[in-house]
Symmetry: D2
Subunit: 161 residues, 4 copies
C-alpha cells in the first residue's frame, strides 16, 4: 500500500522552540504511519527527521545538491534524493507532499508554503510567516503546538486514489 508523504519545511537554523516543535511534529507523523518529506538539511529539517526516526518512521530528504558532498544530508535522513536542482527542489517538496507543516522559516520556507498553497495542498503554519495583501491579513491554517498542527492537517489530506 502506498505511504502518505507529509512535508515538513522550515529554516536550516530555527530557534530552540522551533526545533522542539519540529521534533514533535516528526514524531507524530511517524506515529500516524506517514513518511516524512523534508529538505534534508539542518535546523528544522534535521529536528523533524530525528523525531520521525526515533518514533520508527521513514525519512526522505529532497536535497538541493547533486551528491552528498554538495549537500550533506543530516544524519536522520534515511533516503537522500539528490536533485542537483537547488531551490528548484523546494518545488519538488511542495509537489510531492500531500500536506505540509511549516515551522519558523526563512525565504526558502516561505517559497515552499506559497508553492504548496498554490498547488492546493493543505498547509499548516507553526510559529511561521504571516502574510498580508493590500493591508489585509491572508488566512492560513495556523497551529499553536505540534499536536494541533497534525490535527489540523489530517482531515484535510486528500483521499488516496
Amino acid at each position: 500500500m502506498r505511504r502518505r508523504l507529509i512535508g515538513v519545511v522550515g529554516s536550516s537554523r530555527g530557534t530552540e522552540a522551533q526545533l522542539r516543535l519540529a521534533y514533535e511534529v516528526g514524531q507524530l507523523l511517524a506515529q500516524r504511519g506517514a513518511v516524512l518529506l523534508c529538505g534534508g538539511m539542518t535546523g528544522v529539517m534535521q529536528a523533524a527527521a530525528q523525531g520521525a526516526r526515533e518514533a520508527g518512521g521513514l525519512t526522505i530528504g529532497i536535497m538541493p545538491g547533486a551528491n552528498a558532498y554538495e549537500s550533506p544530508p543530516n544524519e536522520f535522513i534515511e533516503i537522500a534524493l539528490f536533485t542537483g536542482m537547488r531551490e528548484g527542489r523546494n518545488y519538488l517538496i511542495a509537489c510531492a507532499s500531500e500536506g505540509l507543516i511549516a515551522i519558523g522559516g526563512g525565504y526558502g520556507t516561505l517559497s515552499e508554503i506559497a508553492l504548496g498553497l498554490r498547488m492546493g495542498k493543505p498547509v499548516v503554519l507553526l510559529d511561521s510567516w504571516q502574510f498580508h495583501i493590500a493591508g489585509e491579513p491572508v488566512e492560513v491554517l495556523t497551529a499553536h503546538n505540534a499536536h494541533e498542527a497534525v490535527e489540523l492537517l489530517w482531515p484535510r489530506l486528500p483521499h488516496q486514489p
Copy 2:
C-alpha cells in the same frame, strides 16, 4: 553582448491599477534595453509583456505547460519557452532573472518573490504582499509606482561578468 533579463511576476488576474503598473513597468524595462521575463500567461504577465513590446522590447514567457495547448502564451510573448514543469517554472523565472518586480499577486507570485529573495536577487514589490515573521514586518524593497520600482531595482542589479 548579453542582454539583461528582468522578471516581472504577478497575478494572472490583477486589478485595473495593477495591470496599468505592469504595463508601465514593461515599457520602462524595454526602454532600458532589458528583456522581459515573465510567466507568459494573462493578467500582470500580459500587461507587462504588452508594455514591453509596445516600447520595442523583447518578451520571454517561461510557460508552465509543455506546449501552447496546455498553456497558451499571451499575444505579447515573442519567445515562449515551454517547460512542462508547472509551478516548477516559478523557480526557473526566479533563477533566470537578474532582478524581479512583483505586482499584486497570488500564491504563485508569493513563491516567486520568496525564491528570488532566497537566491539573493533584488526584488521590488508594487502593490503586493507584505510579510511578518514572529509578529514583526520583514522589510522588502517596496515602490509606489512603476518609475520608482525600476529606479529601486536598477542599482541593485549584479554586474555582468
Copy 3:
C-alpha cells in the same frame, strides 16, 4: 544509516523476457538492502518494483505527473514522488540513483541511460540499447542476466560519504 538508491529504468511495455529480468533485478537489489528507484509506471518499472517488494524491499517511483490521477503509480510502489515534471523526471531518476540498470527500453530509457552516463554513474544494460558514434560501437557495461547485472554494478557504486 542512509540507504543505497539504485535506479532500474526500462520501457513501460517490455517483453516477457524483459519483465522477468526486471523482476529478478528488483529481487536481487532488495536482497542487498538497496532501495529501488524507478519511474513508477507499468512494464519494466512495475516488474522491478514487484520483485523488490516481494523480496521485502522498499520501492520509490519518481512519477511524471503531479498526482495519482495524472500518473497512477503501479501497485508495487510504496512511495510515489509526484514531480509534475514529465520527462524532466528522467533527469531526477538519473541524478538520485547511485547506479542504474537499464532493461529493454524506448527513448525514455535511452535518455536515462545517457543522463546517467553523462553524470558519471555506473550504468549496466540488460537487453537494451547499443550505441555507435562515427560508426564505432561505444562500450557500455552489458550483462546477460539479472545476477550478472547486479554483480557488474555493485563494485562500481560510489562509497557513501
Copy 4:
C-alpha cells in the same frame, strides 16, 4: 508574433567538421527567422550560436549553472537563461524546442536526442549517434550536411497554434 525555437545540441568539444556544420546550421536557422536554442557552452553550441548571430539571428542559451560564474555562456549567446538545474537543463532544451538538430556529441547530446524523440519532436542527426536495439538499427532522421538537416526538419515542425 511568436518566434520559432529550434534547438541545436552537440558536444562541448566537437571536431573541426562538426563545428563547421554547427556554424552553417546556425546561419540557416537565423536566415529562416528561427531563434536558436542551445546549451550555451563551448564547441557545437558556440559554433551554432556564432553562425546564428552572424546571420542576424537571436540566440538563447539554457545554461546548467545558476549564474555566469558557474557556467559562462559563450560570447555568441544573447540571452543566457541560467537554470541551476545542470543536466536537468537538457530536458528543458528538448521540451522548449519545436525541433532539434544534433551534431556530433557525447552523452549529454544523446540524452537530448532521446528526450526530444520521447516527446515526439522532430530530431535530425548530423554526424552523430546511431542506435540499435535488439541488434536492429533504429531509424532516426539523418542528414549529410547543414542544408539537408534544415530541409529535413522544416516540414516536420508543428504548426503554431
